[in-house]
């Protein structure tokens, strides 16, 4: 009798659970799963809004084109260059700033927290436009550099060699959320661990390296994964600053921007889908590799 009641309750709970999760399932199917499946099918077709060709199955032609497409690989290289410079900064800097803000030796930490987080509140596009004016040849940054004695200040937005560092500088403006996440992690580290380390004679550096970093490793790993996904999707700032032109000289035609152009400017839906799938596969592989590597350096305090 009891087991029958339990089973009825369990079924009812399952139905309620399903009911409440139904909106998400519908949303996921309608806006993620089905479009993903559709784009995969598109990669084997010839859908282009500008070509008047009958819809055809083209086999692997889009994939063959992808391997021969110099622009696709050039754009991937632009993304990789940005990632190489951006990822270490966006992972390490918020951690170090959070450690600094969390330190008992630093005064006015409340104000510091607000100041560091404040830029994050400014809409990204607005801050990009402000930075655009700051980075031009007669902008504040170069004026300041000239005052400091730098005779030939870089052309941040018009020199293909300097534009990536310029974009990284703009991106640093939005580190606020990373700092808050790291701060929350730091506050969660049990103080007994530091007490024990101090009793063992550990100084500031050893405490940081042997207590803080291992305890923070899940948070660092989390920010790293988010940063990788974000960098693969990087698109908005170059679109706003350069109207999606890839200027100067193609140095800001990021892979995602090229993907966007292929879809919406060139209106090549099938080839755009192929590019999207390449991006998905790369992101997936990088994330899986990071997860695999995380076994060696990420420490969880609880068991699964």
């Amino acid at each position: 009798m009891r087991s029958e009641t339990t089973s009825w309750v369990a079924r009812r709970e399952a139905r309620y659970g399903l009911l409440f999760v139904l909106p998400w399932i519908i949303g996921f199917l309608a806006f993620t799963a089905v479009p993903m499946a559709a784009t995969f099918v598109f990669t084997f077709l010839n859908i282009s809004l500008t070509e008047r060709e009958p819809l055809m199955f083209v086999g692997l032609a889009n994939y063959q084109r992808l391997f021969a497409d110099r622009q696709a690989w050039a754009s991937l290289w632009v993304t990789a260059r940005f990632a190489l410079l951006w990822l270490p900064l966006v992972v390490v800097l918020p951690f170090l700033l959070a450690v600094a803000v969390n330190s008992r030796y630093v005064r006015g930490t409340g104000l510091l927290r607000v100041l560091l987080f404040m830029p994050y509140v400014v809409p990204f596009v607005a801050s990009a436009l402000i930075w655009q004016n700051m980075l031009v040849d007669d902008g504040w940054i170069n004026t300041a550099l000239r005052v400091l004695g730098v005779g030939d200040a870089p052309s941040w937005l018009s020199d293909p060699s300097w534009v990536i560092p310029g974009l990284v500088m703009i991106g640093l403006w939005g580190l606020g959320s990373g700092i808050i996440i790291n701060l929350a992690g730091l506050r969660g580290i049990p103080t007994e661990l530091y007490d024990a380390a101090r009793l063992d004679g550990a100084g500031w550096w050893r405490q940081l390296w042997h207590v803080t970093v291992p305890m923070m490793s899940p948070v660092i790993f989390y920010t790293m994964i988010l940063a990788v996904v974000e960098v693969m999707q990087y698109f908005l700032i170059p679109l706003v600053l350069f109207d999606g032109s890839g200027d100067p000289g193609g140095a800001t035609r990021f892979f995602n921007l090229y993907l966007y152009q292929t879809f919406f400017t060139y209106q090549e839906m099938s080839y755009g889908s192929t590019l999207a799938w390449l991006l998905f596969v790369i992101t997936l592989v990088v994330t899986l590799v990071l997860f695999r590597l995380s076994r060696h350096w990420v420490h969880y305090t609880s068991e699964r």
């Binding site: 008047r52 052309s155 200027d247 100067p248 193609g250």
Partner: protein, 457 residues
């Protein structure tokens, strides 16, 4: 549980009914067809222009009850991508414009053929110059009817010529340029280069031909080409196309190659044209066109530049376009309104289009600063335009320039149109930002890159 399902079903039904009801027109207008006018693939986004367009719509809507028009303003920078997205998602507007040859070519194959509507409605093409309707015929498709034209001229600052002790450039086509020593030269790009060097001045007052000239401290530039589009720059030398004619093979016209070398050397060798980084500075970037900053002596641009030319001061004027190898070309833009092939109401859209290019044209042309394609309206247009400026401008130059329009048009459709534009834009940007490039190698690489893309057709 049943009660929960019933409640959910009721909410769903109510939401659906509410959503369905949202589109229903208010009482009395049930039969009205709603048309969407998409702006701004060309001009039309300035506040005053939007106001003028809204007024035209209000008058049209008030004049009858069958059609209601709604204006959708998307700024030029994102107008192409937005329209492409709307078309891709099946949310197609009915009518777009004003849009030029290039803006239309970016949506090749997606414009309605107006020929049957022109015929069935008895639309009168006689007020336009003979053959002007052909400007809007792409292949066998009549994409538009004549509306506005914008010839190119040479804008120049008379005070800078006077200060340098130089005579102003000729206003009449075929006239020669007279130097201070009485020598006369053909009014061509060699003469323009010579003048531009003398009119490029550093902060110490030395011009680019003098010993000790400091190219790092230039305060006044001699010349500014139309740097937005390499094809336009090429066409300012001579009309041409990247397409050899077979729709498959790329060839960079010799005149275009020469014009691009002129542009590149002007920036990095002769220094009379500003480089990309200088072009971006506040000092020289006057509302998007360097000439508007008042620090440039001469500039080639379309007639629509009158919208911001007041920024250059009150001593500017128009001169004839220089010639290249004995021939003169004035790249001419031709704007009109087009109907999307995906419009659900083509007949109504054509009725509204006829209103725009007919009764409303004077008001719109004035707002756009566009020269009417209807020849009888041109004098009135220039009289009104002249009233906007305190200085006396020789508008006859613009009228005369029409005879030198580029044919084929530089913005005409080529295979893989948008991809080709991207490649041209990338090279343009590279040339503006990198000195020391081998232009012959650049031109060869550009041709190969475009050919690669065309080969995919």
């Amino acid at each position: 549980m049943n009660r929960l399902w019933h409640t959910l079903a009721a909410i769903l039904l109510a939401t659906t009914l509410a959503a369905c009801g949202a589109d229903a027109p208010p009482g009395g207008d049930d039969a009205a067809v709603e048309l969407r006018w998409y702006c701004c693939l060309g001009t039309g986004e300035q506040a005053e222009q939007v106001k003028a367009q809204q007024k035209v719509i209000e008058r049209f809507n008030a004049s009858q009850r069958r059609i209601k028009v709604k204006l959708e303003v998307v700024t030029y920078d994102s107008a192409r991508d937005t329209l492409a997205t709307q078309i891709a998602s099946g949310n197609v507007p009915d009518l777009a414009g004003p849009v030029g040859v290039g803006g239309a070519a970016a949506f090749h194959g997606q414009w309605l053929d107006l020929a049957p509507l022109i015929k069935s409605s008895g639309f009168d093409l006689s007020p336009y110059a003979k053959g002007s309707a052909d400007l809007y015929r792409i292949g066998s498709v009549q994409e538009g009817v004549p509306f506005a034209i914008y010839p190119s001229t040479l804008y120049y600052k008379a005070d800078m010529f006077e200060e340098a002790g130089l005579a102003e450039p000729p206003h009449k086509y075929g006239e020669k340029y007279t130097w201070p020593d009485g020598r006369q030269s053909e009014w061509n790009y060699d003469t323009l280069r010579e003048l531009a060097l003398k009119l490029t001045v550093d902060k110490n007052g030395k011009d680019a031909t003098q010993e000790g000239f400091d190219p790092g401290q230039i305060v006044q530039y001699g010349f500014e080409p139309a740097r937005d589009d390499l094809r336009y720059q090429g066409a300012a030398f001579a009309a041409g196309s990247l397409d050899t004619g077979d729709g498959k093979t790329v060839k960079i016209p010799d005149a275009w190659a020469d014009s691009w070398r002129f542009f590149y050397d002007g920036m990095w060798k002769d220094r009379f044209i500003m480089t990309g980084p200088v072009f971006q500075t506040e000092q020289f970037n006057g509302d998007g066109a360097a000439f508007f900053s008042g620090h440039v002596a001469m500039s080639v641009n379309f007639l629509w530049s009158t919208y911001g030319v007041a920024g250059a001061g009150d001593d500017w004027d128009l001169a004839a376009m220089p010639s290249y190898k004995g021939r003169t070309t004035s790249p001419t833009s031709a704007d009109t309104f087009r109907i999307l092939a995906g419009s659900k109401h083509p007949a109504e859209a054509f009725e509204f289009l006829s209103y725009l290019v007919g009764p409303a044209s004077q008001e719109l042309l004035s707002a756009y600063g566009a020269m009417p394609a209807r020849t009888a309206d041109q004098d009135a247009f220039f009289a009104k335009l002249a009233g906007q400026f305190p200085n006396k401008v020789d508008w006859q130059v613009a009228k005369d320039s029409v005879a030198f329009a580029d044919n084929p048009h530089s913005e005409s459709y080529t295979p893989k149109y948008n991809q080709t534009l991207t490649i041209l834009g990338t090279y343009r940007s590279r040339w503006m930002t990198q000195g020391g490039l081998d232009m012959n190698a650049q031109l060869k690489a550009m041709r190969e890159e475009i050919q690669d893309v065309w080969n995919r057709s």
